[in-house]
Structures are given as C-alpha cells and as structure tokens.
Amino acid sequence: MSGALSARFWRAAVLSPPLIWTFIFMFVPYAILFVYSFWEQAYPTFQPAFQFGNYNQILNDPQYFNVLARTLKIALFVSLGATLIAFPYAYFLVFKVKSQKYRQILYMAVVAPLWVSYLLRAYTWKTILGTTGILNSFLLSIGILSEPSSVFLYNQTAMILTLTYVFIPFMVMPIYSVLEKIPKSLKEASYDLGFGRTKTFFSVTLPLSVPGIVAGFTMTFCLTFGDFIAPFLVGGPDGLMIANVIASQFGAALNWPLGAALALVMIVIVLTIVTIADFFERFGKGKFA
C-alpha cells in the first residue's frame, strides 16, 4: 500500500465512526423531532401533518407561558445563588489560602460531591425538609416549632435550594480556573498605583473573572432549565418546570407533537443563552488577553 493511499485509508477509518454515529444518532433524531413538532394529535395517538397548531398552543395557552417563565425564573435564582456562594469560595482558595496542599484539598472538597449521585443529593434534601423530616423533628424537639410545618418542602424555595446545592461545583470550577490565571503582578501593580483593595477588586479581579462567571452561570442555568428531577422530588404543585411538561407529553398525555414543539422551544432558548454567553466570554477574553 503506498503512503498516500494508506494515509487516506487511515483518515477514513478515523473519520467514519464518529461521522456515522453523529449522523444517525444526533442529526437524524433532531431532524425527526423538528418534523414531529408540526404533526397533530389524533386521539388516542397522533398523525403526520404540517401545521403550526402546537406552536400556536404554546404561544397562546398561558399555561405553557407560565411554566416557561417559572423555569427561567428558577434557573436565574439558582445561578445567582450558586454564583454568590461559589465566587467567594473560589476567591478564598486562590487569594487567601497560602498552602498549595490545602488549596487542593479545599478544591477537591467542593468538586467531590459531583461524583455522588445527583438523585441521592436531591433525595437527602427531601428527607431533611419534609413535614415528618429531620429539620421539622429537630425544630420540634428543641421547642422552636410546636407542630410540624409544611413550609420547607414542596415549593419553589425548596427547589431553588436543592438545585443550588447540586450545581455549586459547576460554578466553582470555572471561576477558580480564571482567578488562578490572574497574574499576581496585576494586583500588585494596582496597589502600587494607589488603588485600594476595593477598587482593585472591582477594576482588576472582578473584570478578569467575568469569563469564568459567565461559563459557570451558563452551565448552571442550562442544567437547571432542563431539570425534571428536582421538581419531582422537592417541588410542589407550583414547582412544575418545562422539562416535566415535556416528559408528560411523552408519557401520560401522549401528545408527542406538542412535546416535540416544546422541546424545540427549549432547544432554541438554551442555544440563545449559550450564544450570548459565548459572546460575553469572547468579549471578556478579547479585552483583557
């Protein structure tokens, strides 16, 4: 076999498995999903069609708009909460911990929970917050409550708490990695120029950490936006999110076309967010690199 031929053969051997796989299991399914979103329900199942009824329903039925708005709101709160916890933590690790060893241990400490099943981490909050749960019985036993309270579980606050808890590691990782890359000399230069610590923070450290914050924020936002486990475990009747609605269209409601249309709306929203974030990250990098 001549060299050129062998190189071409090798190229084809490397390229074909991933190309075939992405075509069959990614391109085709997304395309079918798109086609399905124009089909119509024909009780008890559905039939091929080309009509915009599903999209109309999503736009005009306030039920869907409300779920979307609620999902966006919860995702926003979770991402904000996770940032407020993760940023100081990462800042502490990079700038306050002097020993490399402790820094690594504290970093591992925040990343390690990622390896513990997500379902179990959410489940524990259910056992803690429930009416007969650990928090309630604890507050009863020390006399703060006189009867079990149901305010802790099955509401949006419980969901925001649980999801924030679950996604903190995704926030710490990118923020840590940008803070770590800030040259110490920049902060020193800022001090030398007579900037105080507050001013140095807001004019040097914070702007330089924007790409990390944006990356973590996007990750957390998208993960929360598509979550359907936390609503099931700790969310109440007002805690349904868009993924639950999609899941029910493919389950009990058996309206796959509407489910497909909702899924496409979800894809568009997620991709829009990712694109905006990409722009911000690039903007941040371009300005300060």
């Binding site: 490397v14 390229l15 925040v110 808890y165 996007t218």
Partner: protein
Amino acid sequence: MKNFFKNANLLRPDAWLLRVESFSWGAGISAILCFLYLPIFVLVMYSFNDSRSLTWPMSGLTLKWYEKLGQNDQLLQSLYNSIYVASCATILTLIIGIPAAIALDKFDFPGKWLFRKLILLPIALPGIITGISMLILFRSIGISLSLEAVIIGHATALISIVVTQVFARLQRLPSSLADASADLGASGLQTFFLITLPNISSAVLGAGILTFTLSFDEIPVTFFLTGRDNTLPMYIWSTLRRGLTPEINAIGTLIILFSLILITTSVFLLRDKNKSKQT
C-alpha cells in the same frame, strides 16, 4: 510579593480589623462546606438509624438496612443493569469519542463545523432532549426500548465529554511527534497506538471514569429509553414514589463509598503518572 504584603500590613493601623476579616473568611468558608457536606452526612448517618422514619433524634444504630439490601433482588438486578449499561456506554464513547477528537484536531473536511456543533451539543442541551429525540428515532425505525437502547442514548449524550477532554489534551501535544513518526515510515495505525494513545492515556482514563460515573447516575435519557429493566437510579426513583425508606440511605452510603474509592484511585493514578514523568 511577600514583602509587599508585610508592608501592607504595617500600613494598616488596626490589626484587629485584619483578624475580624480572617475570622469572617473562615466562618463563611466553613458555612459553605457545612452546606455542602451536611446533607451527605445526614444521608450516611440515617442509613444506620434503627427506625423506619427519618426523624430527629436518631433512635439507635443498626445495620439491618444493609442486610435488607442484600436480599432485595430487584435492587441487585438494577445494580447489575447499571454496571452493564455504564461499562458498555463508556467503551462506546471512547471508541467514538477518541477518533472524533483526533478528527477535530487533525483533519479538515466539509461540514466540520456542523460535526463539531452536533457532537458537542449535548453538553449544553438538557438530557431530556437526547432522551425524547432518540425515543422518537427508535420508535420510527422499530427498535424496542431496552437496556441496549439506553446504552446508545448514554453514549450519544456523553461522547461530548470524551471529545472535549481528549481534544484539549491533543491540542497541547506537539504535532511534530506524529509527523516524526510518519517520517520514520509508521502507518497511521502504528502512530496512533505507539505515539498518540500513550500520550493522551491519562486524559482518556479521566474521561472514561467520568463517563462511567455520569452514565451510572443518569436519569433523563434512561427514563425515556428503558423498557422493563431498571437501572439503579431508575429503581431508586421508582421507590421514592412509594415513600422514603432508610434502605435508600443505605444504597446511597454504598454509592458514596464507591465514588470515594473511584476519586481517590483516579487522583493517585494521575499523580503517579505526573511524578514518573518528572523524574
């Protein structure tokens, strides 16, 4: 640098302010760590609780929930299923993901941008999208829902992990290595197994372990693609509908223990590699 901070401290008239500051940092960081670990601690503690109800205070220590696990056939079957699914999915993601990363790193071909976008899409898209789009595909071409369908679903969702990790490593690898190998007359296959693979092995190992863990824990894709067989998370999910039991805490504790072993092993494996490289 150190001198600078000393000077800064000398300039500061009130040392107590510094103490207050370091105390508040300590308190804040401890609070965050408590928030992260208290639930895990609770999960583990209550797996030893003598009573069926999960209330404060604990009523006594017992190992009976662990004994019950051993007799729970459904649970053991689901555990076996999960190991089967995660192993096959991991192997598949590596078989597809490593060539994909090489293709993105080395080759130019028409439609490369679309290929890149598609293969990395599951990182951003929620798992439920992969789940339902593959459900529709399998239904359209008449493939029945099964653990094998779940494996294909997991592989599709997780290839992106392998691609990003391996691609990042390949980018740092000098291309002169592969060029030299080719100049010396090695075929593409030889170069891959003798030069490229050994150099990216720790990235492959890390990506493999991560994929296994994520697949083992996966729910959204499994939810739509599994037939009658349950994976472990799906089994836990279905028992949660019936109510909370300390048995779940016992499974949870075992999973945590297993994850801990896995993390430590991977950290040590990677560390030994780095050390041997330095010497």
